[in-house]
Amino acid sequence: MSTSELETHAYDVVVIGAGGAGLRAAIASHESGARTAIVCKSLLGKAHTVMAEGGIAAAMGNVWPDDNWRVHFRDTMRGGKMLNHWRMAQLHAQEAPDRVLELEEWGALFDRTKDGLISQRDFGGHRYARLAHVGDRTGLEMIRTLQQRAVALGIDVFMECTVTKLLKDVDRIAGAFGYWRDSGRFVMFEAPAVVLATGGIGKSYRVTSNSWEYTGDGHALALDAGASLVNMEFVQFHPTGMVWPPSVRGILVTESVRGDGGVLRNSEGKRFMFDYIPEFFKGETADSEAEADRWYEDKKNNRRPPELLPRDEVARAINSEIKAGRGSPHDGIFLDIASRRDAAFIQRRLPSMYHQFKELADVDITAEAMEIGPTCHYVMGGVEVDPDTGVSVVPGLYAAGEVAGGMHGSNRLGGNSLSDLLVFGRRAGLHAGYFAYRHRRRPVRVHQQQVNAAAEAAVAPFAQDGGENPYTLQRELQEVMQELVGIIRTEDELTESLRKLADLRRRAGELSVEGHRQYNPGWHLALDLPNMLTVSECIAMAALERTESRGGHTREDFPGTDESWGGINLILTNDAGGELSLQRQDLPRMPDELHELFEVK
């Protein structure tokens, strides 16, 4: 393919992804003066952020004046079992309030306190009520606000355009190559800086809250471009996904149900979470129903209900109850708010949950309990980045949001994702713009052979007749990850998963797709599959290596948290031969003045 027939655009910064992180990055990049483009797989405003429900965690102190960034920082680190990059957790806690206020300046309409300030709600692992929210559709409010801001600024958006390859000029980023979904035609972006904001990996699992876009594209693009991934073994299974009917299995049920007073019960009607309070959280968790119930009104003199332990703890407990035969009729557990709050309260605070259960499951959540179970929700691991700038080890390549790693350690607290997107989206966009400016006299050059190779790889599935069906392969991949690299892991199963993934990788080289290049979902899936396989291999490899249980990584054969693992990150890179390679690396050490926050008072 000659360059003359290839649609080509030149920008200072190209942002891949248009969820919260991508949009916030593009706004920051644009405002820094950089010529900025957003490239996204879906229509603008449809990215996965739209599904976030509960809220944005930010220590604004609107409801509890005692709240401040230090408390939020401490909660975040403890929720991540201290494996978070301390500097990311610090920046996040410090800057989140400003990022929320900024959304309001751009038109967001948050729920209010009696004084007219932004209201804040309770969530798991957070000491104070600190989630800014709009009912239970906060993500929609956030994405629409950012989308409208980006539109108002006139930022160029390439919608339904998928990037398949990052281009490089020696060691630097030189741009990105992709295709238009509607026409199937190729497009190239020349840019000295690229921000990855592609989200997560959930579509590698059968039961997930994630949408089709979550195929690990950014993780795989980064590895391919020479960047490193950190702690991919940590995958969050959200404790409460729908389980019935089968077609909705995995769809998220917001943690706000518990934040607003909902409790978990087994088939015997027991609030079983009291039996699962780990030593690590005993000091801050109520040990009686009476204390737990008092906490909603009086946080000073009471400890948090165990239903609001961090998600990894709750998901494991639910899993154990179901395995012990105390589950609900459809292999879930009961989430009950109907008996705890009146119907008007539930409909006002949880309108979209009410709607979702009514429409999809014929369940009236103001009158009966919901059936729920764990669902793959979030990957804590991701591209290893510099906390302050979001730059990866590849000059010009930035990452923010779910695709970046380190911020959440081994487990993310609810509400910390939307704030993460805003804080680090802004930082990555700003620094990418700054990088492009600093390098304005040293332009990058796109190498034709890279473009040709990317184009050839993209059309390869059309060249083959009688090969594998991509939909079948995706289903098999999801089975492997669900069954062998799921919420509870063992050495034998992880070893088997790697063998099966290698076999799927071989078969993915023999895919066939029917039809032509115009809006062809079979072809699109065939191009997403290698990315899904790459992130799956990363997760399985790292999970096999880490012989302990911590946060979102539970090894049945190593059930305890092992202090010797507490200071170790697992780093994945592509070696010279294109094979995945795994190294151990020391966790960055927290300065003493922050360390003091964790000493027992």
Binding site: W106, L109, V134, V248, Q518, P521
Partner: protein, 254 residues
């Protein structure tokens, strides 16, 4: 229990197309989008369909199901009998790209024509104060998931391509109303709602409200009040006189 479902799906592109028959096994509790995905995975790998969340939250999978504008992910098979044929066609108000996917860029063009929110400065502590009852009207409109079913159903543009340049459609009347009712906005877009967005062309048949999957009362709560506000500004002699003597509000007219 599973059963074989008969479907007729429109297949084609800009140059034309036709309904094609499929029979697919479906299960209890499934929605139309599940059935279409199974057709895709087993019978027509290149069947084009746009979707994202499959939970009624993103507004991507809009189509016409047995002639009605609906989200495929929120249309349950149990709403139909086992013997019924389900026919799915692309949105009619927008050009077809391929199969069930349409080019909805009209809506994104209209979004760009709408001047953004411009708030008053924050209070001394850097925060803004608004009462819950004052934000609730806007919050209803901001539930909009941009599925564009209201746009597709609105007869001003549904069969009248020629009206599109002068008419923004119900989705954007919601947005005009939201901003006009925002307690802190400093811009007055009433003139634009009339001249640029063409709210006067709407004759309140409420078709948009009927198809809204978020149950937003588009006509009653947004369009009619917005029409009244536009008219107030233009024709009410007392208001007109008032604006000459003393400014009715401090907003800047756009």
């Amino acid at each position: 229990m599973g059963y074989p479902l008969s479907m007729r799906l429109w297949r084609g592109d800009r140059d034309g197309g036709a309904l094609q028959d499929f029979t697919v096994e479906v299960e209890e509790g499934e929605v139309v989008l599940d059935a279409i995905h199974r057709v895709q995975a087993t019978q027509a790998g290149d069947l084009a369909v746009r979707w994202n969340c499959k939970a009624g939250k993103c507004g991507s999978c809009s189509a016409e199901i047995n002639g009605r504008s609906r989200l495929m992910c929120m249309t349950r098979l149990s709403d139909f009998g086992h013997e019924d044929v389900i026919t799915v066609t692309p949105l009619r108000a927008f050009p077809v790209v391929r199969d069930l996917v349409t080019d909805v860029s009209y809506n994104y063009v209209k979004a760009r024509e709408l001047p953004a929110f411009a708030p008053t400065p924050p209070d001394a502590d850097g925060k803004r104060r608004m009462m819950q009852q004052d934000v609730e009207r806007g919050q209803e409109f901001r539930k909009c998931i941009e599925c564009f079913l209201c746009q597709n159903t609105c007869h001003v543009i549904r069969d009248h391509e020629e009206n599109k340049p002068a008419f923004a459609g119900p989705r954007f009347f919601l947005r005009y109303a939201e901003l006009d009712m925002h307690p802190l906005d400093t811009h007055d877009r009433r003139e634009l709602a009339q001249s640029a967005a063409g709210i006067g062309l709407c004759n309140i048949t409420k078709c948009c409200t009927e198809v809204c999957p978020e149950n937003i009362k588009i006509t009653d709560n947004a369009i009619i009040p917005m029409k009244e506000r536009v008219v107030d500004r233009k024709y009410d002699p007392l208001v007109w006189l008032g604006t000459k003597i003393r400014r009715r509000d401090d907003r800047t007219e756009l």
